[in-house]
């Protein structure tokens, strides 16, 4: 032990201070003094512990939370469930309310009603007119490229193809449905690259006043895992016996596929990172324990039992693991939140449920890295160690 830094106290002062200090057992005092006297090495070992625990916490948090984050990202693909009246019939009036009650409020499903009719223009061209709720449709279908959403009465959203044929100059036009004529004003253009381009979208209540046709389709974006979505489908089917409730397979299967691959990659990455940081801790802590073989030898030379020495080093390692785990856990949560904000623009919810795993893992790794060098040292005579061999 180095005596280069001489103590700034006279022996009397030290004795006084020790007499005044609360009585602690020899065991605790040895633990504390060991940490204080070799604070640099102890700090290095603790730092490794903290970093490993932080990285492990961040990876576990991400692994759990990223799936939820990606799922909500996948909801931008639109509805994953459709409710359709059987044989093209209209749905009951309370269908939308029922759909929302069955899938919400916790899961926060977004349901958009659609009703369809074929109307004729003044020159006899047939065109599909759709009644919907614009506010909901806008939330559900992020990919719709809309130049301007309708606000005023009799304003419509024109699919690009429909606009070119029905109202090439974007002038108001007339449509006839079963003898009833309405005059409509194009508010904006809708472009999707799919069937929507050849349709005209009108507000649901105005549509119903004109045609008398109630919604026949409700598109629903149900949040959650595949089993959760399936449960919702089942619930909806029971609530609405007059309707067909179907999953949109294109969306469901695509999502499952991409999500599974991402999850597997993240899992492999997390495992590698956690393994590496555990090894880092193992190397550092083993060094720190091995380095104290003289303490070990002195304790044994003074007559400490095998059990006491083992217990001492184990307690020291466990304490270091515990402190490192607690500090590392909070830093790790911070890293996970930061990654969530940077990558998903939404904070990752801290998962305190991973704490027991991080804690147990840290203590276990710390114990292993204490026990390995001790078993090696036990075979050597204390005298040899004290002689510096």
């Amino acid at each position: 032990m180095s005596i280069t830094g001489t103590l700034p106290h006279t022996p009397k002062q030290v004795a006084d201070r020790r007499a005044r200090a609360p009585h602690t057992s020899m065991f605790t005092r040895m633990l504390l003094r060991a940490a204080v006297l070799r604070r640099r090495r102890a700090a290095a070992a603790l730092l490794a512990m903290i970093v490993a625990a932080a990285v492990a916490t961040a990876m576990m948090n991400l692994y759990v939370d990223v799936q939820a984050k990606l799922r909500s990202e996948f909801r931008n693909y639109g509805a994953n469930v459709v409710v359709v009246g059987k044989d093209g019939q209209s749905l009951p009036d309370d269908a939308l309310a029922k759909v929302e009650s069955a899938t919400g409020p916790g899961a926060k499903a977004l349901a958009v009603p659609f009703s369809y009719a074929v109307a004729r223009t003044n020159d006899g061209q047939s065109v599909v007119v759709v009644g919907t709720d614009f506010t909901r449709a806008r939330q559900l279908n992020h990919w719709w490229k809309v130049s301007h959403w309708p606000h005023d009465p009799n304003e419509v959203l024109m699919g690009t193809l429909a606009a070119n044929i029905v109202s090439p100059n974007r002038q108001p036009f007339e449509l006839t449905f079963q003898g009833k004529v309405v005059e409509l004003t194009p508010a904006g253009m809708l472009q999707t690259g799919a069937g929507e381009d050849s349709r005209i979208y009108l507000d649901q209540s105005e549509f119903q006043n004109w045609t008398g046709v109630a919604p026949s389709t409700i598109e629903v974006a149900v949040n959650g895992t595949t089993p959760e979505v399936e449960t919702s489908i089942h619930k909806l089917a029971q609530l609405l016996p007059s309707a067909d409730v179907r999953p949109v397979r294109q969306i469901m299967e695509g999502e499952a596929n991409v999500l599974n691959k991402t999850r597997a990659t993240l899992y492999a990455a997390a495992a590698l990172v956690i393994l590496t940081s555990a090894l880092c801790v193992l190397a550092t802590l083993m060094g720190w324990v091995f380095d104290r073989r003289r303490d070990f030898a002195i304790m044994k030379a003074l007559g400490a039992s095998e059990r006491l020495v083992n217990g001492f080093f184990a307690a020291e390692a466990a304490a270091m693991g515990a402190v490192g785990a607690i500090l590392g856990f909070f830093i790790g949560i911070g890293i996970a939140v930061w990654i969530g904000r940077v990558n998903f623009h939404a904070p990752v919810v801290p998962r305190f449920s991973v704490f027991p795993y991080v804690f147990a893992g840290s203590v276990a790794v710390a114990l292993i890295s204490a026990i390995l060098p001790i078993t090696m040292l036990r075979r050597i005579q204390p005298a040899m160690i004290l002689r510096g061999e």
Binding site: E73, A269, V273, G388
Partner: protein, 433 residues
């Protein structure tokens, strides 16, 4: 003397050197594997995103309105313009043909089921299932089995299990059809039954389940649909599944307003817009458009996953750098006595440091090479088990990884070496501290 000290150090402390070397190799392996996975993940996920189906659609330029509700087409069948089937193989001649995973032509025809007063209108869609085509010297197959991976064909109640050849996906040049599952239930038909379609007796080869409008329709080989319509070679629209680059501000610019140089750069980027532009060039009188539901979202999903893997890779690099420096620090700290002896014999700080750095360099080189190979294997294993395809390692990565390994080893050793050199040889030799 210098090489001998280094050599003897490795010879006599083989176990310690091995431990440090293993730590470096592990750190480098993890770093290599993560970098390889992170650089390749975009491409891999892009391919997985193709399970959402086509992201481009080609229609005739003079397209007419679709009057279709719930899979029932209310428009006269021969109305409107068509694309020419003979032009389709030219899709393989576009600049980005390697990015085009597959394409499927579609020709919807309204047909009468049955005859007399019980006849009813049903939509029959002609398409390719898995059609062999060739363009120039290339042979390839394409069809809905590639572009619409969620379409499932079943054999109904499994009645035909003993003769599997008579059930499944029909051949593209056969007269066999698939019937949508809801339509099949309505008609009470099973695979193997015949169906009176527009006055022809066609054999049902399988029940199609798609979760969309096709469940109420009949799907047939394209040639059969053209024959029923009486327009050989006609195609209503073509769905294309292409690997694209996430869209940015540059992608949405109008190519006609660009300078030739900028236009070349735009043309040679696999944006969905530039692929659409090239399709319009090869298919006469056509209009190519992105399917926004698929095309707009894949960029967002892709960049999220790429960003995530990048951050995770940073974490992995950080953890492995730490592991390497921890191992080096421990290894050097254990050799204070040696340092003390060397200094007592008159070695300068510089000389002692040089020995340690030389050893670190050797360790980093050996560990780096071993770790790089192990990391390459690891990345390959990850690619094979998760994505069923190779993750290739760029050879460029090797010197980069080696340089990083040497840098991290040096950085990790520096502090420990400085401390070891500064340590008073008297205390070190007495075995204190």
């Amino acid at each position: 003397m210098f090489p001998r000290i280094v050599y003897e150090s490795f010879r006599h402390q083989a176990r310690r050197k091995l431990l440090a070397g293993i730590a470096i190799a592990l750190g480098v392996a993890v770093a290599t594997a993560m970098i390889a996975v992170a650089t390749d993940i975009g491409d891999k996920i892009n391919r997985e995103l193709r399970s959402y189906g086509a992201n481009l659609v080609v229609t005739p330029q003079e397209d007419t309105l679709d009057v279709e509700i719930g899979g029932v087409n209310l428009k006269p069948p021969s109305d409107g313009a068509f694309l020419n089937e003979a032009d389709l193989p030219k899709i393989r001649g576009t600049f980005w043909h390697n990015n085009i995973v597959g394409f499927s032509p579609m020709l919807p025809v309204t047909v009468k089921l049955g005859s007399g007063s019980s006849a009813k209108d049903v939509t029959l869609v002609g398409t390719y299932f898995n059609k062999p085509l060739h363009f120039g010297k290339q042979d390839f197959t394409t069809g809905v089995r590639i572009t619409h991976p969620w379409w499932k064909v079943s054999c109904g109640d499994g009645r035909l299990e003993d003769s599997p050849a008579a059930c499944g996906w029909p051949n593209d040049d056969s007269q066999n059809i698939l019937v949508g599952e809801r339509l099949a239930t309505k008609l009470a038909k099973k695979p193997g039954d015949t169906l009176d379609v527009a006055g022809r007796q066609l054999t049902i080869f399988g029940i199609l389940s798609t979760g969309a409008a096709e469940d109420d329709e009949i799907v047939a080989p394209l040639a059969l649909a053209q024959h029923i319509l009486g327009k050989p070679g006609a195609v209503r629209r073509v769905y294309l599944s292409a690997l694209t680059k996430p869209q940015d501000a540059f992608a949405t610019q109008d190519p006609n307003t660009m300078t030739p140089e900028v236009r070349d750069r735009w043309y040679c980027s696999p944006y969905v817009q530039s692929i659409a532009f090239q399709l319009q060039e090869v298919i006469p009188h056509s209009h190519a458009e992105q399917i926004r539901q698929v095309a707009q979202n894949e960029g967002a999903v892709l960049s999220r996953i790429k960003g995530l893997m990048l951050l995770v890779t940073l974490a992995a690099l950080f953890a492995s750098a730490l592991a390497v420096s921890a191992a080096m620090a421990t290894a050097i700290f254990e050799r204070r006595v040696e340092v003390g002896l060397m200094k007592a014999l008159g070695a300068g700080s510089l000389g002692v440091s040089a020995i340690f750095f030389a050893e670190a360099l050797l360790l980093a080189l050996v560990g780096g090479i071993a770790g790089f190979s192990a990391g390459a294997l690891l990345a390959r294993q990850i690619g094979r088990s998760i994505f069923n395809s190779q993750i290739s390692i760029e050879p460029v990565l090797f010197p980069v990884i080696l340089a990083i390994a040497i840098f991290v080893t040096f950085a990790g050793s520096a502090a420990a070496i400085r401390r070891a050199v500064k340590f008073d040889p008297v205390f070190a030799l007495r075995g204190e501290g």
